[in-house]
């Protein structure tokens, strides 16, 4: 069952098409993130859901109702902006009460609801402050409470954490997820930060040049990217040019690798094979069944991680290993074996 349905959305500004053939079904209570670089169209899609932009073609349904032509003020959505957008002339209390007053709720009910919302974001003590008297993190929590107070159908978050510093960002991220799950509200979150998207979402939509490149759970997106772009954008990647040898095996970095997962590939076709740095190790771990010979170029000690650059079959490969007390830094110039398992090999379409 789908609560928010985007069907065949296209959006053009003059000659520029910024969103193409965008389809998405969001289940009730689901938390979906749009992840992509700036200019990929993620914010435009969010603004079309909000009603600030009208799609050039396609339709948007919320809870079974077609809202494509409805103005933003009648869509019953809660929106949180990157720049907080609290009303500077109103106290925290009045900001949160704004949507309720507009809806014509009786005074006593407004007071109860506002108190409830301020409790939810644990800022009850700051109810009489004005936005300019608060930190960015506090303002954004108020913005969240303001968006949620009128019990909207949808919560839309437009890069709400981008303007905050690292520590606040993480704690507010966890708060957003907790509140979202408590209220069970269907939520769409826009971000360019992959860690944010992967950590907070039920599903992630990776967007590229106006299209949804891949839609999947954070684990699917990270572990099984289906396009070259997704693989490159989410996490670090070592890529190799490769060739399909037979339906059962692929050839790369001077080796034939038996890989029963990709039987549908045509023999002889050029493909790309990728390995995450953290999937590689210079020492065989239990389960590691494949290795490539190489030479250490240099290595870096990063505290929890040791990062080594290894030259394998004429190209540079990054290897990330967890630091342990007995770990030694690989020495530049030494020969090394790069170990991994068959299941860690990502096969990507060659041309994207």
């Amino acid at each position: 069952m789908s609560f928010l349905t985007l069907k065949n959305i296209t959006k053009s500004f003059g000659p520029n098409t910024v969103v193409r053939d965008f389809d998405l079904n969001v289940a009730p209570g689901e938390f979906v993130s749009f992840l992509g670089p700036s200019g990929c169209g993620k914010t435009t899609v969010l603004r079309m859901i909000a009603g600030f932009e009208t799609p050039s073609s396609g339709s948007i349904h919320v809870g079974g109702t077609d809202v494509t032509a409805l103005p933003a003020s009648r869509r019953k959505i809660g929106m949180v902006f990157q720049a907080y957008a609290l009303f500077p002339n109103m106290s925290v209390r009045d900001n949160v009460a704004f949507g309720l007053k507009i809806a014509g709720m009786p005074r006593a009910e407004i007071d109860t609801r506002v108190a409830e919302m301020l409790d939810l974001i644990s800022l009850g003590s700051l109810a009489d402050r004005y936005p300019y008297q608060m930190s960015g993190g506090q303002q954004q929590r108020v913005a969240l409470a303001r968006a949620l107070a009128p019990r909207p159908n949808l919560l839309l978050l437009d890069e709400p954490l981008s303007a905050l510093d690292a520590q606040i960002r993480t704690s507010l991220r966890d708060d957003i997820r907790r509140i979202q799950q408590e209220l069970g509200i269907t939520t769409v979150f826009v971000t360019h930060d992959q860690e944010e998207a992967l950590s907070i979402s039920d599903r992630v939509v990776v967007m590229h040049k106006g299209r949804a490149d891949q839609i999947g759970t954070p684990a699917q997106i990270y572990n099984r990217p289906t396009t070259r772009f997704v693989a490159d954008f989410v996490g670090k990647l070592n890529t190799f040019e490769a060739r399909v040898e037979s339906p059962q095996s692929i050839f790369f970095a001077g080796q034939n690798i038996h890989d029963p997962r990709h039987t549908d590939l045509t023999p002889g076709a050029p493909i790309t094979v990728a390995l995450r740095p953290e999937a590689l190790s210079l020492r065989p771990r239990p389960g590691d069944d494949l290795s490539l010979p190489g030479r250490v170029l240099h290595s870096t000690f990063l505290g929890s991680v040791i990062r080594a650059q290894i030259e394998v079959a004429g190209q540079q490969v990054s290897v990330d290993m967890f630091n342990r007390a007995d770990a030694t830094l690989p020495v530049a110039g030494d020969m090394a074996e790069v170990w991994f398992t068959r299941g860690d090999v990502l096969v990507l379409p060659s041309v994207m």
Binding site: F87, P88, S125, L126
Partner: protein, 275 residues
């Protein structure tokens, strides 16, 4: 190397200040000498004694207030709409708003008289009320450069587009957004524009005189021709009034929400965060 005292700069500044202050002091001093051999406020008393003075001041103040009201109703929605919908047209609108500074008021008022004269389909100058309407419109035109700039700067200081979207997402119509969100946030800018409009309109001479209205500007000129001490007193009062306007403007412009207007009173107490 220690910095030497900038003698030359200080001297220029002093000469500049003297250029403004000496005539002011001289005028003030002169205005106090109506009674021979002593300093008194006799000239001021005689100005206030005159019924004509209070009459023209009341007329001018009313016309100025009407001009402020009309200016705000025209300029605020325009500036808002331009910023929100056609930001690219902003330089054009800004240029248009400066036109009243380029076209002399005398040209403007002759245009009015010809356009709305006895042979016009809208003969505004044929009635007292119609002429008053023309006068107010003239004041609005003269003050548009200042009002538009003040309001537009006020809107630049807040993120109009995002605040509008925030209000809309909470269910507010465009009108409610303007009334509850935009207007209160540019109130200080509007007040600045209003004071500027007021001080321009109150002493305006050209349009007022050519439309033959019983207002403060022509009265001031008439007094200057007929009397010696009273015009000096009037000039000082007009000057003081302008300064009061500036001070009030400053007070409104720097006020933050939740603060009292008068800064030396204690601001509303704020409970500290416990977390």
């Amino acid at each position: 190397m220690s910095r030497r005292f900038p003698i030359l700069s200080a001297l220029i500044a002093l000469i500049g200040a003297a250029f403004f202050i000496v005539p002011l002091i001289a005028t003030f001093n002169f205005s106090l000498r109506m009674k021979r051999g002593e300093l008194s406020f006799e000239a001021y008393r005689s100005v206030f004694d005159s019924d004509v003075f209070l009459g023209v001041l009341g007329f001018s103040a009313t016309a100025s207030l009407m001009a402020i009201l009309m200016g705000v109703l025209i300029v605020v929605p325009t500036a808002y709409w331009v910023r929100l919908r056609v930001p690219r047209a902003r330089p054009v609108i800004e240029f248009l708003s400066l036109m009243p500074l380029i076209i002399p008021p005398v040209v403007l008022v002759f245009g009015y008289v010809r356009l709305y004269g006895s042979s016009s389909i809208l003969p505004l100058t044929m009635t007292e009320a119609g002429t008053n309407v023309l006068l107010v419109i003239g004041y609005v035109v003269l003050s548009v450069p200042y009002m538009y700039r003040a309001v537009d700067n006020g809107m630049a200081a807040i993120d109009i587009a995002t605040l509008t979207e925030a209000a809309e997402s909470l269910g507010a119509s465009r009108l409610r957004t303007i009334v509850f969100v935009i207007f209160p946030n540019i109130r200080s800018a509007i007040v600045s524009g209003a004071f500027l409009t007021f001080s321009i309109s109150l002493g305006e001479f050209v349009i007022t005189s050519l439309l033959n209205r019983p207002a403060f500007g022509p009265y001031l000129v008439q007094m200057g021709q007929d009397f010696a001490y009273q015009p000096a007193a009037l000039a000082i009062m007009a000057f003081a009034f302008t300064w009061i306007c500036m001070v009030l403007m400053e007070a409104f412009a720097t006020r933050k929400p939740g603060q009292r207007l008068l800064p030396w009173r204690a601001p509303r107490s704020v409970t500290k965060a416990k977390s």
